[in-house]
């Protein structure tokens, strides 16, 4: 048995359900505005191995309770948008939705991390027709949603891959250069948004 124990079976089902909710938000928006809100989304259940590793790293007991309640990203969905404004529109629509409650929210776009990382993080609490670890049925589960632009996503995935290369000779220089690249991509994101706004204005 892995760290999720019997709850491991329902996590993919909850993941699918929330993914469908998000897709539905996009479809409704498309019908109304003839434009999509995101380019693509990636949904995953954190593997039991990385969840155990995370519990240890964070100093939590390696238990099912930690995996489902202390860590709130066993179920995670990444939404990759074309434009910055789409992220905020999507966040608003999630906030209005009846199927979830927002328990935590971090705007790393307005407050970029020191290394240049930009993204919008939401932790949702969803009510589902499955038993949870506290014995409630319908139960409550946490879902993490990360929203970012294509540029933010490409930076984050490359930075992630380089972070684990320990044989880099000049890590400070590389960190500085990665930060500069993040700030350049952020600049492009805003220029793209501005161009879209200018097109709208001139319509």
């Amino acid at each position: 048995m892995n760290i999720y124990e019997k709850y491991g079976d329902v996590l993919p089902e909850i993941l699918n359900e929330v993914t469908d909710y998000l897709k539905q938000i996009n479809e409704t928006y498309k019908e109304k505005h003839h434009d999509k809100l995101y380019e693509h989304l990636i949904a995953r259940v954190k593997t039991p191995e990385s969840m155990e590793e995370k519990c240890q790293r964070k100093g939590y007991a390696v238990t099912t309770k930690s995996a489902l309640k202390e860590c709130k990203d066993a179920i995670g969905i990444r939404v990759v948008c074309g434009f910055i404004d789409d992220i905020y529109t999507f966040v608003d629509l999630i906030k209005q939705a009846s199927w979830s409650e927002i328990v935590n929210e971090k705007d790393y776009i307005k407050n970029a991390k020191p290394n240049g990382y930009r993204s919008y993080h939401l932790i949702l609490k969803v009510k589902v027709p499955f038993e949870d670890i506290d014995g409630n049925n319908p139960g409550q589960y946490f879902v993490e949603i990360q929203l970012r632009t294509i540029a933010m996503d490409s930076w984050a995935s490359l930075e992630h891959r380089m972070k684990y290369k320990h044989d880099i000779k000049n890590p400070e220089q590389i960190t500085k250069e990665l930060k500069r690249t993040a700030d350049e991509l952020a600049s492009c994101d805003i220029s793209m948004q501005t161009i879209r706004n200018l097109i709208e204005e001139n319509r």
Binding site: K110, N111, A112, K179, R180, D183, I190, S191, T194
Partner: protein
């Protein structure tokens, strides 16, 4: 500063070289125009000082050769003749300044200091207004967050920050930043970019104004 000196009169060359070295400049001295062209091809200089009348190639000819390669280094011409025409010829051929022989060393060194000031103090590599800092070398705009600007946006932001609280017309802005390369339409597009970027770093300053009108950088 690194200086290239071309002077064929050995004694004057020696005196000028010593004087400039004594105040900390690095000096390469040659005695004709041809050698000057060769030195300019091989090294980077901050200032070039050329005598006009020299064997093999005059200072003016050498300067023209050097300018042809796209070199825009500050050139001071030393002319023996105080004729107005010589000064005009020299300046029109690409010189930035001239001095008439005989001249005082004191004056030459003062001109070099003035040129240095223009490079450093007046170049405003770091500009600040409100909570916002602009590093024009790094093209970095910093407040709560940081962001990198493309070159034209950096120039425009610098113009606004050095002229904060002044009303700048669309036409004036276009002339200063783009000259005749673009028409006035470009100004609104770039101001829109900068507004987005100021918002992204959570700046406490803003560019006020409407399309095609006057714009002013103010504190919020």
């Amino acid at each position: 500063m690194k200086i290239l000196l071309a002077e064929d009169e050995p004694q004057l060359q020696h005196v000028l070289k010593k004087a400039m070295q004594s105040v900390g400049y690095q000096v390469d001295a040659v005695n004709n125009g041809k050698s000057a062209v060769k030195a300019a091809k091989e090294n980077i200089y901050d200032v070039m000082i050329f005598d006009v009348m020299m064997p093999e190639m005059t200072g003016i000819e050498a300067m023209k050769e050097i300018r042809k390669t796209g070199d825009s280094t500050h050139v001071i011409i030393l002319t023996a003749m105080s004729e107005i025409d010589d000064k005009v010829t020299g300046l029109d051929a690409g010189a930035d300044d001239y001095m008439t022989k005989p001249f005082s060393l004191k004056e030459l060194l003062a001109r070099l200091r003035s040129k240095e000031r223009r490079e450093d103090d007046y170049n405003h590599k770091l500009v600040e207004y409100g909570s916002v800092k602009l590093d024009t070398d790094q093209q970095e705009l910093v407040s709560h967050n940081s962001i990198r600007l493309p070159s034209k946006e950096t120039e425009l932001m610098k113009l606004f920050m050095l002229n904060a609280d002044k009303q700048l017309s669309t036409h004036e802005i276009r002339q200063k930043i783009w000259g005749d390369e673009e028409n006035d339409e470009i100004v609104w597009i770039y101001i829109s970019y900068l507004r987005g970027k100021l918002a992204a770093i959570n700046a406490d300053i803003q560019i006020v104004g409407k399309k095609d009108g006057e714009f002013c950088l103010t504190k919020k």
